[in-house]
Subunit: 420 residues, 2 copies
C-alpha cells in the first residue's frame, strides 16, 4: 500500500511557508503501515494540479492533497477536483450550520457569502467533517485510487486526518506494519557514534535499516523495518537497541517517538515531586517555551526569568555588578550565580541558567561569539560548563537550548536527584 502527498500552494514554491502538513500526514500514514513514496509540492494552478494527479494515480493507491480549499479566489482545489471527477457542487446543510455555528462562537465579525459558499461541495465526494474550520475535507474514489483533499490550515487538517481519514483507511486496506524506532542521543557527533557502533551496524539484519539524523548537538538513530508480524518486528528492533546500550549507553536519552527529552523531564520531575526554575539570557525564553509546550508542565516548572542585560541581572536576579565586571557577564561565575539566585527566587529544587553571546555582535560581554555557559544548581551541587557553539545566532541559541536539556537530564539522573 503506497501513497503520495501532494501539497498545493504557491506559498510553498516561493518559499513563504514551511510544508509541515506533509510531515504530519506522512507520520500518520506510516503508523498504519502505509508508505509514502513521494511528497510533491506544486502551485495553485488547475493544469498543474490535474497533471500531478494523473501522474500520482499511476504510482500509488492513495493520494492525499492539502491546500487550496479556502473561501477566497486564489483557492482552486475544490473546483479543480469537481471538474476532474466530472462533478457538480451542491449545498451541504450540515456543513452550513456548522459554519454558522463557528462564526457565532469564535469570530467577532458576522458571517458572509464567501463563508457560506464553503458549504457548496462536490456531490460525489464523501464529506470529511472539519471541526475547527469552514473548509470540509473530501474523499473521492476512482479506478481503485483514493483521492483525499484536505484544508491547508495545519490544525484543521490534523484533526480531519486523525478522526476522519486514518480510521477509514485502516478499515479499507490490508496493510503491512512499518516500524520505526528512534534512539535519541545527546553529546556525541554522528561520525564518532558511527565508529563506536560500526560492528553492530555491519551485523544488522538485512531487513533493518539504520539512519543517522544529526541536529545541533543531538543525533537520532533510527531503526526501520517492515513486515506482517508486528510482534516480531518489534522484538527484532528492540533486540538491536538492547545491543546498543553497552556501546553508547551513556549518550542515549531514550526512544524519541515515545518521549522527547522535554516529556521525559516532565515525567522525572513529576514522579519525584521536584520543581524547576530557569534564568535564560542568550536563549531568551526558548528553553521555557519548549518546557511549557508540553501539557502538564506547570506541575514541575515554577517559571523562569529572562534577564536580558547586565543591569537587570543585577537588579532583579541579584547578580553583583562586581562579579559581572570582574568576570564578564558571559562567564562561569555569572552563570553559576544566576542558577543559585533563580533557584532561591523561585524556591525550586533545581535551577538552570544560561548566559552566552549569540551574536552577531558581542553585546556587553567580553566573550567571543558562540561562547555559552550553562549552569545547574541543586541541593547537591552547583556546576557550570562552557561551550563554543560557533558563529551563527540561530544555531548558537538552539544548540544552547539543546545542550541545556541534555545537561539537566544527565544531572538529575547522575546525581540521583530523581529516581527514574
Amino acid at each position: 500500500m503506497v501513497s503520495e502527498i501532494i501539497s498545493i500552494g504557491d506559498e510553498i514554491l516561493i518559499g513563504q511557508i514551511v510544508n509541515t502538513n506533509a510531515v504530519f500526514i506522512a507520520k500518520e500514514l506510516n503508523k498504519i503501515g502505509i508508505e509514502v513514496e513521494q511528497i510533491t509540492s506544486i502551485s495553485d494552478n488547475k493544469e498543474k494540479i490535474v497533471k500531478c494527479l494523473d501522474h500520482a494515480k499511476k504510482r500509488v493507491n492513495i493520494i492525499i492533497i492539502t491546500g487550496g480549499l479556502g473561501p477566497t479566489n486564489d483557492d482552486l482545489t475544490k473546483h479543480t477536483l469537481c471538474s476532474y471527477f466530472d462533478d457538480v457542487l451542491i449545498k451541504n446543510e450540515k456543513v452550513l450550520s456548522h459554519i454558522e455555528d463557528m462564526f457565532l462562537k469564535y469570530v467577532p465579525t458576522p458571517i458572509n457569502d464567501k463563508n457560506r459558499e464553503q458549504a457548496l461541495l462536490p456531490s460525489k465526494a464523501k464529506i470529511l467533517k472539519n471541526k475547527h474550520g469552514t473548509a470540509s475535507g473530501m474523499w473521492f474514489e476512482k479506478d481503485d485510487v483514493v483521492f483525499i483533499s484536505l484544508p491547508g490550515v495545519p490544525f484543521e487538517m490534523k484533526e480531519i486526518i486523525v478522526n476522519e481519514v486514518i480510521p477509514v483507511l485502516k478499515k479499507k486496506f490490508i496493510r503491512t506494519n512499518i516500524l520505526h524506532k528512534t534512539i535519541l542521543t545527546y553529546g556525541l557527533g554522528e561520525s564518532v557514534i558511527a565508529e563506536r557502533i560500526e560492528t553492530w551496524e555491519n551485523n544488522l539484519p538485512e531487513d533493518i535499516k539504520l539512519a543517522y539524523l544529526p541536529n545541533l548537538g543531538r543525533v537520532r538513530l533510527r531503526l526501520s523495518s517492515k513486515g506482517d508480524d508486528e510482534k516480531k518486528l518489534n522484538d527484532d528492533i528492540n533486540n538491536q537497541i538492547e545491543k546498543l546500550y553497552p556501546l553508547i549507553g551513556e549518550i542515549i536519552v531514550g526512544l524519541e517517538d515515545q518521549t522527547s527529552i522535554e516529556e521525559q523531564l516532565l515525567n522525572f520531575f513529576k514522579k519525584n515531586n521536584k520543581t524547576l526554575s530557569l534564568a535564560e539570557s542568550c536563549t531568551g525564553g526558548q528553553v521555557a517555551s519548549r518546557i511549557t509546550d508540553i501539557p502538564g508542565s506547570s506541575i514541575y516548572f515554577k517559571g523562569g526569568i529572562v534577564p536580558y542585560n547586565s543591569k537587570i541581572k543585577n537588579q532583579i536576579l541579584n547578580i553583583p555588578m562586581e562579579l559581572i565586571n570582574k568576570f564578564s557577564v558571559v562567564s562561569e561565575q555569572v552563570a553559576k550565580r544566576m542558577a543559585i539566585e533563580v533557584r532561591k527566587m523561585f524556591n525550586s529544587d533545581i535551577s538552570l541558567a544560561i548566559t552566552g553571546t549569540a551574536g552577531p555582535s558581542k553585546g556587553e560581554s567580553k566573550a567571543s561569539i558562540g561562547i555559552v555557559f550553562i549552569a545547574i544548581a541543586s541541593e547537591k551541587r552547583v556546576f557550570s560548563e562552557e561551550f563554543n557553539f560557533g558563529n551563527h545566532r540561530e544555531r548558537v541559541r538552539e544548540r544552547a537550548a539543546n545542550k541545556a536539556f541534555e545537561l539537566l537530564y544527565n544531572e538529575i539522573i547522575n546525581l540521583g536527584i530523581v529516581d527514574t
Copy 2:
C-alpha cells in the same frame, strides 16, 4: 528559467523532519528570478534518486538537491551522483584541511576516518565550500542542465546557497524578475478582508496575482508579478498596495518580506529609546523567544518573567493572592496587575502580560480552555483584552503570542508612545 528542488531523505517521507531547506532555497531562487516549478521529496534510495533526476532534467534547467551527504552509511547522494555522472572520487586537500581545522576548533572528540572521507569528492564536480560543516556542495553540468548537490543540515546548506550558488546562477543565466510583496495584516479573517477588497481584487491587472495566507490571527496578502522591467513591476505592485490602505489600512502592519512584526517593534522601540518587559504565563516564554530571535533586541528588551503558577505570580511578581482568588488567575484584573508589576520590576517604558488557559486541562484557573487575557501597561494607560482562542493547546499559545505582538504594535503607535 525554471528549477526543481529535490529533497532526499527517508526522514522526510516518514514524517520525522520538516523540509525547511526547500523553503529557504525556493525563496532565494525567487529573489533572483528563478521560478521553482516543483519540490519533490524522495527517499535515500539509489534507483529513486536516479529516476527523479531523469524526470526533473526534462522539465527544468536547474536542479537543486539537498541531503544524503553525511559521513555515515545511510548517506548515498555523493556515491549516486558520482555514478550518475560517470565519475570517480578524488581526495580534495583543501577540503581535508578545512575538515581537520573544524575538528580542532569545535569538536571535543578527535577526527576519524569517516570525517576524512568527506574530503573524497567527484572529480567532475565544482566543489562548493561548506564553511560550517564537513560535507561539501557539488556543482555538475550535463546537457545544459545544472545539478547542484548540497548538505541537508540547514545552516550549512544556507551558507552555501547564499555565498556559492546564488552568485554563480546570477552570472550564468539571463533571468526575468519575479516580485512578491506580502502585506501583513493582524485582526480580521480572510473572508472579511476578501469582502472589503472585492472591487479592488476584481480590478487587479491580469499580470498581478493575489493570494490570501491566513494563519492564527494573521492574514498575509501576497501580490506577485513577473517581467523584465523591475522598476515597472515594483511601481505596479506598489500602486495596488497604496489602493489597499483606504480599504483595510487599519489592519495593515506593514510589508512582511521587509520586516516582520518583531523587527518593526525593534525598530520603533530603538528609534524612540523605549524599553519593554514581559510577563508571560500561558505562552511560557514564546513571546520573549520570538523577540530575542532578532539580533539587536537587547537594545530595547530588558527581559521577561514566566511566572508559571499562582504562587509564583504572587511571590515574585507581587500579584496579591486576594486578587487571584477573587477574579481567578486568568482574568482582566490579574493580567493588568501583571503588566503593572512587571513594568515596575524591570523599570521599562512598556510592559506586556499574558495569562490564559492553553489546555488541555484547566489548571488553576476558572476560565475555560482557550480564554486568554493580554494586558499592556505604559505611562499612558493600562488595558487588557480578552480572547477565546479555541480548544487546542499549540494553537492557543501561538495565537496568543501573535495577538500580543499585534496589540503591542497598535498600542505604541495609536497612543503615540513611539514615533514611527
